[in-house]
C-alpha cells in the first residue's frame, strides 16, 4: 500500500526533470545529459502509473484485471521495442520523416484517450470536462493527419507542391464551424449520441489537418514540422486537462511552447508571418505573377571539377553553405573528407547554416554532425554573415533561396526581406547544383549570374566525390 500522494510527488519530480532536460539541450556539451534526465523522468512517471494499475494505492481498492494488465504490458513492451528499433535504424537524412510520424502518434494517442474518457464519463460529465475532451480530441486529430501528410510529403510519397483548392480558407472555416456545432450538439445528449457527435468532430478535425498541410509547400516544411510539434504538445496538455493530470499538462505545455518558438524562429528566418506560412500557399504566388515562367535572366559560367579543386587549393579561407540538396544526395561524408584535407593544408574551413536550410529546424547541423564535422566549424547565419567579405571561396551545395541576393536588393522579389547568407560578397563562389532550375520558392537566383560565381552542375554527391579525388590526386 502506498499513499495517494506518492504518484503526485513522482509526477512533480518528472516534470522538473523534463524542464531540466530541455535546459540541458541548450548547449552541445550538456545535451546528452539533458536527454538522460528526460529518460529518467519518463521512466519514473511511467513506473508510478503502472503501479497504479495494480491498485496499490490507499483508497484505490480495485486492481485492474489480469487481462488488462497483460494487454497494457504487451502494448508498452511492443511499442517500446518498435520505437527503439526504428530509431536505431533510421538514416539521419530521414530524420524529418521520423519526427513527423512520431508527432502523428501523439495525435492518435490524444484522440483515443479523449474518446475513452468520454465513454467512461458517460452522461454525468461536467461542462468544463466535456469541453476539455472536445478540444483535446480536435487538436489530437489535426495533429495526426497533419503529421501523416507532412510525413508523406517529406518522403516524397506525395508531391511537395502545395495543393490549393479554390476557397480553401472558407473550407477550413466551415470545418471549424462544423466541429464547434457538433461539440455543442453533443453537450447534454445521451452518452451514445454524444459519442457519435464526438466521432463526427474527430472526422472533421482529421480532414482539417490533412487539408491544412496539403496546402503547404515542401520548403515550408521546417515551419510545419515545428508547428505540428507544438500541436502534439497542446494535445498532450489537453489530455492532461481531461484526466486532471498535472504532469501531462506541464509536459504538454513545455512541448507546445517549444514547438511554437521553433515555428517563430523559422518564420523569422523566412521573413514571413506564421499566418502567411499556414494559409499562404507560398510556392504558387510567384507563378501567379508570372515569376516562375521567367527565363533565366542572365548568363552564367560553368566550371568543372578540376578548376574547382584548383580554386580550393589556392584558397586560404573557405565557407561551405549546405542546403537540402546536400541532404538529398547524402553528400555530407565526402564533404567532411574534403574539409579534413583542406584543414590539413591550413585552409580555414567553416560551414554556414541558414535557419531554414533543409526540411527540419537544425537539419543541416545534424547531418554535418553525423559526418563527424566539429560543431565549432559550423556557424549560424548571424555569426558568419559578416565574414563572407574576407573569404576566398564559398561553396554552395544544394542551396538556393537562402543565398539569393534578390532578398536584399530586389523589392519586387517574393522573398524580399528574408535574411540570407551573403555568399556573393566572397571573392569566388562555386555553386553545386543539378541544373539551372529555380529553387523551391520558384524565384530566379541572380547569384548565378554574378561575375564571381561559377556553376558546377551534377548530382551533389558525385560531384563532391570527384572533387575529393581531384584534391587527393
Amino acid at each position: 500500500m502506498m499513499p495517494t500522494t506518492v504518484p503526485t510527488v513522482v509526477y512533480l519530480v518528472a516534470g522538473v526533470l523534463f524542464i531540466l532536460s530541455l535546459r540541458g539541450l541548450s548547449t552541445q556539451t550538456t545535451a546528452q545529459h539533458g536527454n538522460l534526465l528526460g529518460i529518467f523522468g519518463m521512466v519514473l512517471a511511467v513506473a508510478v502509473s503502472v503501479v497504479g494499475l495494480f491498485g496499490l494505492e490507499v483508497g484505490e481498492t480495485a486492481r485492474s484485471t489480469d487481462h488488462v494488465l497483460e494487454v497494457y504490458g504487451t502494448a508498452l513492451l511492443v511499442g517500446g521495442l518498435v520505437g527503439g528499433f526504428v530509431a536505431a535504424r533510421v538514416q539521419m537524412t530521414a530524420m524529418p520523416e521520423l519526427v513527423a510520424v512520431l508527432h502523428s502518434f501523439v495525435g492518435v494517442a490524444a484522440v483515443l484517450v479523449g474518446i475513452g474518457t468520454l465513454m467512461e464519463a458517460g452522461s454525468n460529465i461536467e461542462m468544463a470536462h466535456y469541453v476539455e475532451v472536445q478540444v483535446g480530441v480536435f487538436v489530437g486529430a489535426v495533429t495526426f493527419t497533419g503529421s501523416v501528410i507532412a510525413f508523406a510529403k517529406l518522403r516524397g510519397t506525395i508531391g511537395s507542391r502545395p495543393l490549393l483548392l479554390p476557397g480553401r480558407h472558407l473550407l477550413n472555416l466551415a470545418i471549424v464551424g462544423g466541429a464547434i456545432a457538433l461539440g455543442v450538439l453533443g453537450w447534454g445528449a445521451e452518452p451514445d449520441r454524444a459519442l457519435h457527435y464526438l466521432l463526427g468532430l474527430t472526422a472533421l478535425a482529421l480532414l482539417l489537418g490533412a487539408h491544412l498541410v496539403m496546402a503547404i509547400g515542401g520548403g515550408d516544411m521546417p515551419v510545419v514540422v515545428s508547428l505540428l510539434n507544438s500541436y502534439s504538445g497542446w494535445a498532450a496538455a489537453a489530455a492532461g486537462f481531461m484526466l486532471s493530470n498535472d504532469l501531462l499538462i506541464v509536459t504538454g505545455a513545455l512541448v507546445g511552447s517549444s514547438g511554437a518558438i521553433l515555428s517563430a524562429i523559422m518564420c523569422r528566418a523566412m521573413n514571413r508571418s506564421i499566418w502567411n506560412v499556414v494559409f499562404g500557399g507560398f510556392g504558387a504566388e510567384p507563378a501567379a505573377k508570372g515569376g516562375a515562367a521567367q527565363a533565366p535572366a542572365g548568363k552564367y559560367r560553368e566550371t568543372n571539377v578540376g578548376e574547382t579543386a584548383e580554386m580550393l587549393r589556392a584558397a586560404r579561407s573557405v565557407i561551405v553553405i549546405p542546403g537540402y540538396g546536400m541532404a538529398v544526395a547524402q553528400a555530407q561524408h565526402p564533404i567532411r573528407e574534403i574539409t579534413d584535407l583542406l584543414v590539413a593544408r591550413g585552409v580555414k574551413v567553416r560551414f554556414a547554416i541558414h535557419p531554414v536550410a533543409g526540411r527540419l529546424p537544425g537539419h543541416m547541423n545534424v547531418l554535418l554532425a553525423e559526418a563527424g564535422i566539429s560543431y565549432d566549424l559550423v556557424k549560424e547565419l548571424d555569426e558568419i554573415n559578416d565574414d563572407f567579405g574576407d573569404t576566398d571561396v564559398v561553396m554552395i551545395i544544394g542551396a538556393n533561396d537562402i543565398v539569393n541576393p534578390a532578398a536584399l536588393e530586389d523589392r519586387s522579389s517574393p522573398i524580399y526581406g528574408m535574411p540570407v547568407l551573403e555568399a556573393w560578397k566572397a571573392a569566388r563562389v562555386v555553386m553545386l547544383k543539378r541544373s539551372m532550375a529555380a529553387g523551391y520558392a520558384g524565384v530566379d537566383n541572380p547569384i548565378c549570374y554574378r561575375d564571381n560565381t561559377v556553376m558546377l552542375f551534377g548530382d551533389a554527391k558525385q560531384t563532391v566525390l570527384k572533387l575529393l579525388a581531384a584534391l587527393q590526386g
Binding site: V99, M119, A253, P361
Partner: protein, 486 residues
C-alpha cells in the same frame, strides 16, 4: 564649404586663438577679409556665439545666420533678428535624433567641456585626484560628484575616473544609470514620488518645486562627502535648476572645488558667478563659461564639423534652401521670413507601433524583423478575457488549478527553449517528441481498476503508440547527440 558651391569669407584673425592661421584658410580656398566686410557682404554667416549688439547693428537685412542662439533665454535677440528679416538656424536647437547627430554641436562641445571641467577642478584642488600609498603615508583619492549625467557629465565622469578619483554621479533620469556605471562610477539613485526627469528627445525636463527641494536636500547630503562637484544639470529652454544650495556649499570641506558648467544658463549652484572663479566659505566655485574655448583647436574643429553638416543639409545648388517638413531642419530654425518660428512644432521622435491593419506581407525592409502586428496579441486578449471571466465566476476549483499549472508551464517552457542553440533544434524536436509521449500515462489511467472493455482497449492502443514515441524519440535523440562533437 567651397565644395558646396559657396564663396567663403573669413574674418581676419578668426582662427588665431585656436591656432589656425589665416594662411590655412586661403589655402582652403577662402578669402580673408576684415570683420566689417564679413557683415557687409556675406549672405550666410556662421558663428559660434549669438551675435552681440554691435554685430546686430552691422548686420544686413535678410541674411542667414547659423550660430548658438539660446532662443528660450534670448527673446530680445530673437525679436531683433526678426526685425532684420534674418533666417536663423540655432545650433543649440538641433533635435537629438540619430540623423541629426552629426550636427549636434551641443553634444560635441559638451563633451569637451565636461573633460575640461575636471581638468580645471584638478588644477584648483589642492590635492591629487588619484589615491596612492607612499612611504610618507597614504594619499586619499579625491571624491568627485558629477551632477547631471548628460554628455558633459559623462565626459566629466570619464575624465575624473581616468585621473584616479572616486566618482559618483547623480541624474534625475534613471535610464542613464547604466551609462554611468559603465564608466566605473557609482550612480546615486534618486527617487521621489513618481517623477522621473526623462523629457522628450532624451533631454532632461523641468521638475516640480517640491521635487527640486527634495533634490537639493539629496545633493546637500552628498556634497558633504565630496571634494569636487562638477555640475552639468541643464534643462532645455529654461534657466538651470539651482541644485546646490549655499547651505550645501558651506558644508563642503574647505578647499573643495565646484565647477559649474551650467553657469551660462544661471548656474546650478546658488553662489556661482558666471564667467568667474570665486571662493566662498573655503570652496572654489568655478563658473567659467568658456570651457570648450579653452581647448580651442579641438572645439572649433568639432564645431566646424557640426555647422558644416547642417549647412550641407540645407544647401542645394550653392544656395540655402530649407525644407520645413524635415524635423532636423525645422528644429533649429528659430527666425525666418520676419517671423519667430521657435519653438518648433512637436515631432514624435520615435514612431510607435505601425497603424493597425497595415498588411504584414512578404515585402519588408532588410534585416528588420517584420514589425509585429498588434492584432495577434489583441485577439489573444479578446479570447482570453472572457475565458478568464467565466473561469473566475463559474470555474471549478480543480480546473482553475490546472489552468494555473498550464500557464506557468507555458512560460517556463518559453524561457527554457529560447536558450537552445539553433544547431540543436532537431534534437530538441525529437526530445520534446519523446517527452510528449507522456500521453502514455493518459492511456494507463484509462485502464485503472477495470476489466477489459472498449475504453481499456482504446487506452491500450494509446499506450502502444505513445510507447513507440517515447522509446523512438529518446533513442534517436541519444544517437544524434552522440554525433555532435568538437
Amino acid at each position: 564649404m567651397a565644395k558646396l558651391g559657396y564663396d567663403v569669407l573669413v574674418e581676419a584673425g578668426a582662427g588665431e586663438a585656436a591656432s589656425f592661421v589665416d594662411a590655412t584658410y586661403i589655402e582652403a580656398g577662402a578669402k580673408v577679409v576684415d570683420a566689417a566686410t564679413v557683415w557687409r557682404e556675406a549672405d550666410v554667416i556662421l558663428k559660434v556665439r549669438a551675435p552681440e549688439l554691435d554685430e546686430l547693428n552691422r548686420m544686413r537685412d535678410g541674411i542667414t545666420l547659423i550660430s548658438f542662439v539660446w532662443p528660450a533665454q534670448n527673446r530680445e535677440l530673437l525679436e531683433k533678428l526678426q526685425a532684420k528679416k534674418a533666417t536663423v538656424l540655432a545650433m543649440d536647437s538641433v533635435p537629438r535624433t540619430t540623423r541629426a547627430q552629426r550636427m549636434d554641436a551641443l553634444s560635441a562641445t559638451a563633451n569637451l567641456a565636461g573633460y575640461r571641467a575636471v581638468i580645471e577642478a584638478a588644477a584648483a584642488f589642492g590635492r591629487p585626484l588619484g589615491g596612492q600609498t607612499t612611504a610618507a603615508g597614504r594619499i586619499k583619492p579625491a571624491r568627485v560628484l558629477v551632477i547631471g549625467a548628460g554628455v558633459a557629465g559623462l565626459a566629466a565622469v570619464a575624465a575624473a575616473r581616468a585621473l584616479g578619483a572616486v566618482v559618483s554621479a547623480f541624474d534625475t533620469r534613471p535610464t542613464v544609470r547604466e551609462q554611468v556605471q559603465s564608466l566605473g562610477a557609482t550612480f546615486l539613485p534618486f527617487e521621489w514620488k513618481n517623477e522621473t526627469g526623462e523629457g522628450e528627445g532624451g533631454y532632461a525636463r523641468q521638475m516640480s518645486d517640491a521635487y527640486l527641494e527634495a533634490e537639493q536636500a539629496f545633493i546637500a547630503q552628498h556634497a558633504k562627502q565630496s571634494d569636487i562637484i562638477v555640475s552639468t544639470a541643464l534643462v532645455p529652454g529654461i534657466t538651470a535648476p539651482k541644485l546646490i544650495t549655499s547651505g550645501a556649499i558651506v558644508s563642503m570641506p574647505h578647499g573643495s572645488v565646484i565647477v559649474d558648467l551650467a553657469s551660462e544658463q544661471g548656474g546650478n549652484s546658488a553662489l556661482t558667478e558666471p564667467g568667474r572663479a570665486v571662493e566662498k566659505f573655503g570652496v572654489s566655485i568655478l563658473g567659467f563659461t568658456d570651457l570648450p574655448s579653452r581647448m580651442a583647436p579641438q572645439a572649433s574643429e568639432l564645431y566646424a564639423q557640426t555647422v558644416f553638416a547642417l549647412l550641407e543639409l540645407v544647401t542645394k545648388d550653392g544656395k540655402v534652401t530649407l525644407d520645413y517638413d524635415d524635423e532636423v531642419q525645422r528644429g533649429p530654425l528659430v527666425v525666418h521670413d520676419g517671423k519667430i518660428t521657435w519653438p518648433p512644432p512637436k515631432v514624435a521622435i520615435r514612431a510607435g507601433a505601425p497603424a493597425p491593419g497595415v498588411p504584414t506581407g512578404t515585402h519588408k525592409t532588410v534585416n528588420e524583423p517584420p514589425p509585429s502586428s498588434p492584432w495577434p496579441l489583441r485577439i489573444g486578449l479578446m479570447l482570453a478575457l472572457p475565458i478568464l471571466a467565466v473561469l473566475a465566476l463559474d470555474g471549478s476549483p480543480s480546473l482553475l488549478e490546472h489552468m494555473t499549472v498550464f500557464i506557468l508551464a507555458c512560460i517556463v517552457g518559453w524561457h527554457v527553449v529560447w536558450n537552445v542553440t539553433p544547431a540543436l533544434h532537431t534534437p530538441l524536436m525529437s526530445v520534446t517528441n519523446a517527452v510528449s509521449g507522456i500521453i502514455l500515462i493518459g492511456g494507463l489511467l484509462l485502464g485503472r481498476g477495470r476489466d477489459l472493455s472498449v475504453t481499456t482497449w482504446l487506452g491500450a492502443v494509446a499506450v502502444l503508440v505513445a510507447a513507440v514515441n517515447v522509446a523512438g524519440g529518446f533513442r534517436v535523440t541519444a544517437r544524434m547527440l552522440k554525433m555532435f562533437r568538437r
